[in-house]
Amino acid sequence: MTTWRATLRAGSQTRHPTLPLAAVYVAVYIALDWLSYIQPVGPLPITAWNPPPGLSLAFLLHFGARQGIWLFVAGVAAEVVVRGLHASPAVLLASAAIPATVYTTLAWALRGPLNVDFARPSLRQIATFVGAVLVACAVVAAALITLYARSGLLETERWIALAQSWIGDSIGIVVTTPAIMLFAARDRAPPMPTRRWLAQVLAVATAFWVVFFAGLHDEPRLFYVLFLPLVWIAMDHGLPGTAAAVLIIQLGLVAVLGYRAGPLLDYQFLMLALAVTGLLIGAAVSERRRIERELRDKQFELDRSLRLAAASELASAMAHELQQPLTAMGNYVRACALMADRPDVPRDELERTVQKAVEESERAGRVVRRMRDFFRSGALTPDTIDAQALALAAIAGVRDRAERHGIAVAVHAPPQGLAPIRVDEGQIQAVLQNLLANAIDAVKSAAASPAIVLRIERADAATARISVEDNGPGVTPDIAEGLFTHFATSKAHGMGLGLAISRSIVEGHGGRIWHEPLHPGAAFRFTVPFA
């Protein structure tokens, strides 16, 4: 399985299985066939649980329908190895050619016109997948039963055989293929077993016990109990978790019934209903989560750019307001210089002009003060809040983005906790979001194992210190120089503007903000007062 997955991961554009890989596929196919060859119809390869086509379909969905020849090879080999020469060579070849042809066509249709992609599955795609599989399996079943009946291998029970062939292949594909495809397409390691996860496993086990051991023997009357844990898992883990759970339930069912000669066929119809229901719910949950995540990302980017746009608007308005007094001041002073050289200009006119220049410098000062007040008192409404809760909320805002880039984000707080701080939550949150966004930008392309730490700690008796630390490439010394002062930067996505605003906010709280180089990475720290 490691080789298989390694190749799937490599995922080049034109994918060809290497010969050893094709051989592995054939070997696994034979092994699956042998393992699942239980309760057959006579000597024929017709069982109510037939996972090899599921493996074949996954193989073709990944490598392309042109590899269909390997299905035929595997089919013939499995017949010979598992069942021996139970029929004439012509019948054997035909019975391998039929599923190989139909499933190759199915794989082509799923990849092509039906447009089913397990890397980004939607509810519609999963429904299409299930429908197409049921139709293809019906075609295979009808063709195979006709073949066996014509060649005299199947005298009686033709309808039972037809049903068993159809259900066996259908469930084999519906349960196996999504599990393999989703496992191969997964972008991060499966979640570590949590308590909730263990509870779900326990729930499945309990449901099993109710269905098979507590209820009436060999009667599938209580089968519906299995729906409950599966729906729970689907709601919690989406499609990948559901696919795994469905596979496990199916294997359990086969283990319990297949080898103790229970009525597997009856159960398989219920199992198919269970699998399809679970996968559809899982797909709906996954799709909704994906859309929610995309919306959140867009919102995040939007918020950030709006904040920057507002700041840049402010900066340009301020620049214009400062220009006027500076222009006037320059003119007055130059005029004074000219007057001083001219004895004919009365002294009081010179004094008047000097006074005008002074007034203009005071006007410039007022513009700057108004600006600072805007940040300071204008919108500042301090509250007494818990620093740790503030940090957790900040982390939650960027968690999705961080996870997608494989960035580990953690909050470090003193074990004994921290006294509450007194800040404007919205503004400090904006500072944290800005620092975290910068940190994500810094580490996402650079660090081998990117990590961000949001650290809260006591600075002294009156102030708390909050730091955002990353292990990215750090800040180069020439940029570090004016990091918090590049107020009039023209870059829309530069650090300058965000940090300059952050600084205004922090200083408005009576704190200070600074940058410290780490090895490797950068730390941005600021202080805020305790309540």
Partner: protein
Amino acid sequence: MSGVVYIVDDDDAVRDSLDVLLRMRGYRTRPYATGAAFLDAVETDVPGCIILDLRMPAPDGLEVLKRLRGRGIDLPIVVLTAHGDAASARAAFKGGAFEFLEKPLDDAALVAAIEAATRAGTAAYALRQRRAELQRRLARLTAREHEVLLHVLAGRHNREIAAVLDISPRTVEVYKTKLLDKLQVDRLPALIRVALEAGLTDDTGAHKGNP
């Protein structure tokens, strides 16, 4: 330097400081706080230039520029804008601005721009004055004298003119003497230069002279 510098800026301090500075430099200045007040007061025919702030309440600088051009006033205009406002700078140049300065002003650039603009404005004024004077002189010509002048401009000899107008070459010579007298020139080439300067062209057409 006898030029008028109109200063149009809505900011009291900027306007007043430019006023003080330029008066110290020897210009005659006329400050206006709004584009409308300036447009009401501006004279069509004076030597000088205009300093115009682009960013003003309506009518803004560009609008003032447009209305000046609409009224055929071609005083050179030095436009003031905010730093880095490339879009309005381009619009101002397209609207016929003479020079373009960013605030806060660089003193040397300001002096150079106003100097050049005033010079251009004064030269244009002088040209206008001379043309007006010449036209006044042309207006004193009789219809017949005017006709003879046009033929002279077309480069015809006395005999040809005499044939076309059906008069004697000697009479043509008399008309020419009157022309020199009325247009206050002493020789024929000067007469032709003055006529051209006044905007007169040879529009009698060759067909008239060559029947």
